[in-house]
């Protein structure tokens, strides 16, 4: 439909030109776009409708010699008949009856008459439809602007008058909810709007899927997005907006990828800086800051960015706490993040505690969980840290500014335990062998 006059048109959108205009006049383009979406979403749509009104005429000579009679047919031909309730035709009072109602097409009457006169046709629309016209009147059963009177003067020759009037279509009843067959347009590139049922199914499915296979980071991401609305991601965004640094982050919208974070440069930084610690951690764990999954299921673009930012800075949290990427370390970081950001996915992923071995579980509940909860609660919101600006700060200084204590080095503990077990096992084996050999 033409966006200006709203008639059906075969013209199509020139994408190239549209992009050019967007680049040249970004402000006007975005204003017009906002207007259009607002218009479409909330305004009634208006459609023109054509009504042909007229008469066919034939002169008949009556057999009894009286004055000539006119055999005329008066008709109302609208371009759409599905929205017309009825047409009331008002004739000259000498006709009996002078008020004729036609509820079905063809809306016409045929009579024999003696002269010419003006006929008024009142076109009444179905419920929900209304005329957009200053001449529109309320229809007899109370619909506002439902009736339009049109006049036509009978003519010796057949007459025809064409009226073009505007028709207001009713507002669709379900404007905000959508169905699978009627998805609203995406709000940002990659956005997939989901219905409530779809979101619930995604949450449940990804929860179980990521429990069975914790290496499915895409399922964990989907779980995070599906459970973040309605309250939690909004709370996180409000926390960012309440903090001056958080506001700057939302304004600048920096992204952390392997392009924007040059690891070679970070490795050159002095020993105790955040950037160096980050690079060292990435090397130690053998991971890259590479494309974390894009956020797809959160509707508001700004909230989607907050989620993306959380995902991309997760590695920094690992770096400054020194926790490794094995399940135990991840669970400790997730517990810390839940206490700090309140995202439900972080709490739900703690269910993976069942996958730990007994000794690991013991260690988790004794040391790392208490550390995570107490530090997460008392620390500043880590989402508000502008990491790109903190790359050269001293790690200890940053930790004390945020209020985070470093937990016991998990890899060291594990290594020591492993070494001790190995030594004990070797000693046991040696004793056994000795015993077998000596018969003791």
């Amino acid at each position: 439909k033409c966006p200006m006059c709203r008639t059906q048109t075969s013209a199509y959108l020139d994408a190239e030109r549209s992009e050019l205009l967007q680049i040249k006049h970004p402000k006007t383009y975005s204003e017009r776009q906002a207007e259009e979406t607002e218009d479409e979403a909330s305004r009634e749509s208006i459609q023109p409708i054509t009504l042909n009104i007229g008469n066919r005429h034939a002169l008949v000579t009556p057999t009894d010699g009286s004055a000539n009679m006119h055999d005329w047919t008066f008709f109302v031909k609208p371009s759409r008949t599905d929205i017309i309730e009825e047409v009331q035709i008002l004739l000259h009072p000498t006709f009996r009856p002078s008020h004729i109602i036609r509820s079905r097409p063809p809306y016409e009457i045929r009579r024999l008459g003696r002269g010419y006169f003006t006929i008024t046709a009142a076109v009444i629309l179905r419920a929900g439809y209304s005329w957009v016209s200053s001449d529109a009147e309320p229809s007899p059963d109370g619909v506002e602007d439902g009736m339009l009177r049109l006049e036509s003067t009978m003519d010796k020759s057949a007459s025809l008058r064409t009226f073009r009037r505007l028709l207001a279509l009713p507002q669709p009843l379900r404007q905000r909810t959508f169905s699978i067959l009627n998805r609203p347009p995406p709000n940002y590139p990659g956005h997939v709007p989901l219905t409530l049922a779809e979101r619930g199914a995604l949450a449940v499915g990804s929860a179980f899927g990521s429990l069975r296979n914790p290496h499915r980071h895409d399922l964990i991401a989907a779980l995070g997005e599906a459970t973040a609305k309605p309250y939690f991601i909004s709370r996180l965004r409000t926390a960012m907006l309440a903090n001056p640094t958080g506001r700057r982050i939302l304004r600048d919208r920096p992204r952390i990828t392997s392009q924007t974070m040059s690891l070679e440069k970070l490795r050159q930084l002095p020993e105790d800086t955040v950037g160096r610690a980050y690079a060292a951690w990435l090397d130690r764990e053998g991971v890259t800051p590479d494309t974390r999954d894009q956020v797809r299921y959160i509707d508001d673009p700004e909230e989607a960015y907050v989620m993306q930012r959380y995902r991309e800075t997760h590695d920094f949290t690992h770096a400054i706490t020194g926790l490794p990427v094995i399940i135990e370390g991840e669970l400790a970081v997730k517990a810390f993040e839940f206490a700090n950001t309140l995202l439900p996915m972080t709490a739900l992923s703690l269910v993976a505690v069942v996958r730990l071995k007994a000794a690991e579980r013991k260690r988790f509940f004794e040391t790392y969980l208490p550390w995570a909860v107490s530090n997460g609660l008392k620390a500043e919101e880590v989402i508000n840290v502008y990491w790109e600006e903190e790359l050269e700060t001293d790690v200890e200084a940053l930790r004390s500014r945020l209020g985070i204590e470093i937990p016991p080095d998990l890899r060291e503990i594990r290594k020591t335990l492993r070494d001790r077990n190995k030594a004990e096992k070797a000693a046991r084996d040696a004793k056994e062998r000795l015993g077998a050999a000596t018969g003791v």
Partner: protein, 520 residues
Amino acid sequence: MASTALLRRVLALPPPLRRSVYSSANSHNGAREPDIYDVVCIGGGPVGLSFVSALRSHPSTRLLRVALIDSQDLSTSRTTDDTETYSNRCSSLTPASLRFLNQIGAWEKVKRDRAQPYHAMDVWDGVSGSKIHFDSVDQQQTGLLDAVAEMIPGSRFQASRRKYEMEDAVVATMCENSNTTSALLQRLHDLSAEQLGTQSELKMLDKTRVDSIDLGSEPKDEMLLDLSQWAIVSTSHGQLAARLLVGADGANSPVRRFADIPSPGWDYNQHGVVATLHVDRQLTVEDLRTAYQRFLPTGPVALLPLPGNKASLVWSTTPQHAAKLKTLSSTDFIAAINAAFRLMPVDIGYMLSSTSSTNPTDELAWRGTATPASSTGLPRNFPRVEAVQEGSIASFPLRMRHASTYTGHRIALIGDAAHTIHPLAGQGLNLGLADAQSLAHQIAYGVDHGMDVGSCWTLDGYNNDRWAKNNAVIGVVDKLSKIYGVSSGPVVWGRSVGVEVLERLGGLKGWVMGAAAGMK
């Protein structure tokens, strides 16, 4: 010799003059008989003036001896004719108040082109975005069939029961206080013209401070008047003894203090910021106007329509925010106002906090694009504020006080002396006008039945009529301000659900509107 001649001259005077010479000669100790009035009204604001006008317009009370005392100069309370400037003290007058002003003949003296009736109200929640729309359609009689029709949206049945807006379907009228006051003064002047020089002439003592109010002294002997139970008002123009002393003298009423009537209540820890604004739409008399109000956690912000492209702002907010608003430049102030209606509460709080480093105009430009109107509940035809009238930004502290009783022995309180209320419902002046109407009616009843207008037999009727009604309105408004002061949690959810439900129940909405409009 000279004194004997003088004495003979004095004795030759007619007795009344002789007595007055004698008493003025003895007035060195200042003990003059106080002037006795039937009604002394202290306070020349809209409520006091409307009360006196009501007395003077009613045939029963027209001949009472009435005095009106005010410390301001009442003759200069003329409202300007300049259509470009509007005073920042405007009040919203309900249809009931307008009927009262009409009855006493004052409304026809109001400059009607400076008064703006409005036909709809859009109220929405700043935290959750749930909104409610009031207009005259809901006030028409509804019955069971209409309730059933509402439940089947889009049906022919509902379409057939649709209502139309009535001819004169005004929710309330915005009028500058100076406009109302000058109309009342004009009316009093016209009424006094008929009774010039008579005993029942209205005594208008403006520019007069009340020095003190005391009970009369014990009479020295039985033949003198016993005014020991009467209130004597001492002013620079002499003393007035009041058969009935009416306090219309504002929130810190000296009359209420004299009567020892306690007025419990609390301060809201909010300041009301008022200003006159220019919006981006030039509207005419034929256009339907809407009043807008958004409830933020720090307090409600309202945009009330004035003629043309003007609007009146009333924003109740914390004292810190109010102080910051008054220090902003014009452009920043306008950005802050637009933000108050369009942005999320956290953004508004940040904009007005002392630690914000960016200026409000930039903040609004950025956050405006990131805050979709559908999520904040902004009404579709909400205008954009473009300019603020020079020198019209002011603020005042908000409090709630309600006198324990409105009457005492020969004392009555009306208007702000009796009650102060939060401005979120625009009821303050309307309650005062209703008080004035009720008290005048009660005095007329007393006069018709030969009662002493200052006795409790007359005054109890006024107390019974008004105290409970005012208490209910003050209570509801106070609870509304408390409910909307919460920014998260179950209260937000509860109030949003309540608003959504009320929005769909046309009959109940109509009843609420009727109660707010003062119709009984």
